[in-house]
């Protein structure tokens, strides 16, 4: 019997070590594939999946929850999209807070909290971002995933060198996994294009009048604290901006550029002919100047690098030493939703949307988001 070489012994031991390490890291990564629960309010009329509108999504990682709140009286129909970019938590959480609280008495509200469900199942590589962040509710704790801007590459592969999106715009290859570059979507396209197509089908079949896509941006990004509007929604956006100034939120108006195609605020308006608005708040955790990425950076938004950059006048938003916490970003989104609903009613009284139990932005600012989230079941 031949003598076993030393390097074979070490190779066997290291192979075993690699398997054990994959087991532990795999379990941690698999945790991200588990959806956090959302506990809709008693005003919920129906809970569907996006595949209801586009059956090809059924069973895929792109299928996602759709919450319908139908009022007794006829009025306007509103779509609220959170989680288009799962690394922009204020958009996702605003949708969750709304789904867990509102009761609609007039009109219809459709909420999709995790628009790109696949993006929630992973993080951006080499960013060191946390997989989760935590929020204290009254006496318990809710855990939410912090995902990636893009669809998970294990769900959609490969990326082309140059991506020509369904609207004909040439973009860099990775944008093929960015939901907000894939509108109006494709029936037989890549997964992200199919999700976009499913959302367009939802807009058509639910006869949506106003679509809101909730986002965040890095503080150094020029389009920030902004209402980005389709040209058909200019008046609506201007009315809402004035109302938001009364609430103490200074948002700028940005018209959707005619030659920037594939984005919600362009294609929803052009292809589905609805009023389309995209909202942005300032999120340090997705910026390039941030310090150590952590759950508290996401929730508290405190970052000395951004505070310094702000003092030096290098940012497009004032970034104070005390940070811009998640509760302020969610409150700003909620205030904007309220202002836009009010402006829609003012411009077209037939499109009234009356929402009861809407979490007031002032209370979110004072008490935080926790009191407006349900307890995890079983806690």
């Amino acid at each position: 019997m031949g003598k076993i070489k030393n390097n074979h012994l070490s190779a066997t031991a290291l192979l075993f070590f690699a398997f054990i390490l994959s087991l532990f890291s795999g379990a941690s990564f698999l945790e991200m594939h588990k959806k956090e629960s959302i506990y809709p309010s008693k005003g919920l009329s129906e809970r569907r999946m996006l595949s209801f509108y586009f059956p090809e999504l059924k069973g895929t990682p792109g299928d996602t929850d759709v919450f319908l709140f139908q009022g007794q009286e006829k009025g306007g129909n509103l779509l609220i999209l959170g989680g288009t970019h799962p690394n922009e938590p204020a958009g996702f959480l605003t949708a969750v807070v709304l789904a867990e609280n509102i009761i609609v008495s007039c009109g219809k509200v459709v909420i999709v909290p995790r628009a790109n469900n696949s993006g929630f199942t992973h993080n951006d590589p080499q960013e060191g971002n946390p997989q989760k962040f935590f929020l204290e509710t009254m006496g318990s704790r809710r855990v939410f995933r912090y995902g990636s801007r893009l669809t998970n590459p294990i769900h959609q592969w490969p990326d082309p060198a140059i991506y020509v999106n369904p609207a004909g715009q040439k973009l860099s290859g990775t944008e093929i996994r960015n939901l907000n570059r894939c509108y109006p979507g494709k029936r037989k396209g890549y997964l992200t294009e199919k999700i976009a197509y499913g959302i367009m089908e939802l807009i058509r079949r639910e006869k949506i009048d106003l679509g809101l896509d909730l986002h965040e941006a890095a503080p150094e990004y020029p389009v920030i604290n902004a209402i980005v509007f389709h040209p058909n929604s200019a008046e609506l956006a201007a009315f809402a901006q004035m109302e938001l100034q009364l609430y103490g939120f200074d948002l700028r108006l940005e018209a959707s550029p005619a030659n920037l195609r594939g984005l919600s605020h362009r294609e929803w308006g052009d292809q589905a002919e609805i009023k389309a608005i995209l909202l942005e708040t300032a999120n340090a955790s997705q910026g390039r100047l941030k310090g150590k990425p952590s759950s508290s950076l996401i929730v508290d938004g405190k970052d000395k690098n951004y505070a310094k950059a702000s003092r030096l006048g290098r940012l497009f938003v004032h970034y104070p030493d005390e940070g811009i916490p998640l509760k302020r970003r969610v409150a700003q989104h909620l205030a904007a939703v309220m202002a836009l609903i009010g402006s829609l009613e003012e411009l077209d009284p037939e499109k009234t949307i009356d929402i009861q139990n809407m979490p007031p932005y002032s209370e979110i600012l004072n008490k935080g988001i926790g009191p407006f989230l349900h307890h995890p079941k079983g806690s």
Binding site: N7, A11, L14, F17, L21, G26, I154
Partner: protein
């Protein structure tokens, strides 16, 4: 497309295992093993 992805990743994973056993330097084997972790996660479509 997923089959092609799997075939490429399995091919590379087997190559890493092959080189792990062929390599004589211990620290080269350690770096191969660390790289192997990422590829094992890819084979299993986890990350």
């Amino acid at each position: 497309m997923q089959i092609i992805y799997h075939l490429i990743v399995i091919y590379l994973t087997l190559h890493f295992i092959w080189y792990l056993f062929r390599d004589k330097k211990f620290w080269s084997q350690v770096s191969t093993a660390i790289l192997l972790v990422v590829f094992l996660l890819r084979v299993l479509l986890i990350k």
